[in-house]
């Protein structure tokens, strides 16, 4: 046991010594990516330009960080992971395995995640939790709605971009996926407006990396059915699936078996969390 620890410790130190500089380099490339810089600037600009505007419900404004940090972050991460494709014959013979390089790429998602946290703090400063724009949600559920709509998409978008870049050869895959997700969210939101109490439509609305929870009508702000806390669980499960799918590319032997096993467990957890998200919380649309 002691001998095994003595062998594994220097190995772990050596691995860290290799991965940390790689992670720092990828982080620098991601931060300097023009698409990501554009996303940060747009998030700031939209927040600044709407600072004094009257907001009837929070869903009017909290989708922008998800679109810019999550959606555009996905495109930036996709390009980042694809940029080494041409040099794969050279990079492939280095001592660092492909899953390790993928893990390093996934680590860059920390940057948009931190940006998402900053956006959340800025949002809370502009729209405090006591604001009527949040509708009938409890204070803790209001926090969950904001985390699920601002912070987690900012983390998940780039992770999805890395997974996409590892598996899909088509160079336009990132913007196609962005458009498809954007269209899906719009479609299921419109369906929910027409049938707010329907359980299957609630499942469809939450079957997405981003979902709206409120609507402003004549009666005031209406909260749709679903649990914001379980929705965060579903989103985090999607993030884990994206990481595992990305790591699966190039994994061999025992590592591959472990990843596939973890993927099955995470997939099952994701399904359970989605069902809980749709059936928990308000069981029908509630007006404030």
């Amino acid at each position: 046991m002691t001998a095994a620890l003595e062998v594994s410790r220097p190995e772990a130190v050596a691995r860290r010594a290799t991965l940390v500089p790689l992670a720092a380099r990828e982080l620098r490339r991601f931060v300097l990516n023009p698409v990501f810089l554009f996303a940060v600037v747009m998030t700031l600009w939209v927040a600044w330009s709407r600072a004094g505007a009257t907001v009837t419900e929070i869903d009017e404004v909290n989708g922008y960080p998800a679109v810019f940090l999550g959606g555009f972050g996905m495109m930036a991460a996709y390009w980042l992971s694809r940029s080494m494709r041409a040099s794969e014959p050279v990079a492939g013979v280095t001592p660092v395995t492909r899953p390790a390089r993928t893990a390093v790429l996934c680590a860059v998602a920390i940057v948009p995640f931190l940006c998402g946290i900053l956006a959340l703090l800025g949002f809370l400063r502009t729209y405090p939790l006591s604001d009527a724009a949040y509708g009938p949600f409890s204070p803790s559920a209001r926090i969950a709605v904001l985390v699920g709509q601002i912070v987690v998409p900012a983390l998940g978008g780039p992770l999805l971009g890395v997974a996409l870049g590892r598996w899909v050869r088509f160079p336009g895959a990132a913007f196609v996926l962005f458009l498809v997700i954007f269209g899906w969210v719009q479609l299921v939101t419109i369906l929910t407006i027409s049938r707010p109490d329907s359980a299957p439509i609630a499942v469809l609305r939450l079957f997405s990396p981003f979902a709206f929870f409120t609507l402003h009508a004549d009666a005031g702000v209406t909260a749709w059915r679903g649990s914001p806390w379980f929705f965060i669980g579903w989103q985090l499960a999607l993030c884990a699936i994206a990481v595992l799918v990305a790591l699966l590319r190039g994994a061999e032997g025992r590592v591959r078996t472990r990843i596939i096993r973890a993927l099955a467990i995470t997939g099952a957890a994701a399904v359970i969390l989605l069902v809980l998200a749709a059936t928990g919380g308000f069981t029908h649309a509630v007006a404030a």
């Binding site: 747009m42 939209v46 330009s49 922008y64 679109v67 810019f68 495109m75 088509f170 160079p171 336009g172 990132a174 913007f175 196609v176 962005f178 458009l179 498809v180 954007f182 269209g183 719009q186 479609l187 419109i190 369906l191 407006i193 027409s194």
Partner: protein, 215 residues
């Protein structure tokens, strides 16, 4: 000749994007309440499909053959029929579902989207052999701007919404069509290219003309 140039096109990308656009547009036709959101996304995908029509992986060889850029671009423009047909199919489906869209303006928007994608690809093609990814992304970001940023939607509208106020999309698309025609003509014109649109990268051009000092 025509067949060979057409065969070399990025057909999987063009067909795949057109197919995705048909699916999204089909949802827009099936759910009239979502049509004004999903049809612009459908048209954006078709613009991206048009941006991939000029992709030429063997550009280093093809660009030095006697067939000029005008003829090559003309042949490749035939591939625009795929996104155009997909868009027409979506509009037809929406019409059959009884949707009350301004059809002339919607058709103009469809043509404008596709020509914009092609024009951007023509311009980028002067710098690289495979302009699809860059041109497609640029076109998608530009066309989605009114949907993503409400401040832009106040001034520019890319899809005609029935009964909505604000600027007309026709003005935007007629202007875009005119600019696109000029951009295509300039970019395939070869010799008449502005300096920033040269087919030879600046760094290589500098190396090609070493200055010789007189003895």
């Amino acid at each position: 000749m025509t067949g060979a140039v057409l065969r070399a096109g990025a057909w999987p990308a063009v067909a795949g994007l057109s197919g995705a656009a048909v699916v999204v547009g089909g949802c827009g036709a099936a759910f009239p309440a979502a049509a004004t959101v999903l049809l612009p996304i459908c048209f954006t995908l078709l613009a991206a499909a048009a941006a991939f029509t000029l992709d030429e992986p063997a550009s280093l060889v093809v660009d030095v053959t006697p067939t000029g850029p005008v003829r090559r671009t003309g042949i490749r423009a035939v591939a625009l029929l795929a996104p155009l047909a997909a868009g027409a199919l979506v509009l037809l489906a929406a019409a059959l579902r009884g949707q009350a869209l301004p059809w002339a303006a919607a058709s103009l928007a469809l043509a404008g989207n596709i020509l914009l994608g092609f024009a951007v690809a023509c311009v980028v093609r002067t710098r690289t052999g495979e302009p699809g990814a860059a041109a497609g992304t640029a076109v998608v970001l530009a066309l989605m701007a009114p949907s993503l940023v409400p401040q832009v939607a106040r001034f520019v509208r890319t899809f005609p919404s029935p009964g909505a106020g604000g600027p007309s999309s026709d003005t935007v698309w007629w202007t875009v069509l005119a600019v696109c025609v000029v951009a295509i003509a300039v970019s395939v014109g070869g010799r008449s290219l502005p300096p920033w649109m040269s087919t030879v990268p600046i760094s290589r051009r500098r190396r090609s003309y070493p200055t010789v000092q007189p003895p």
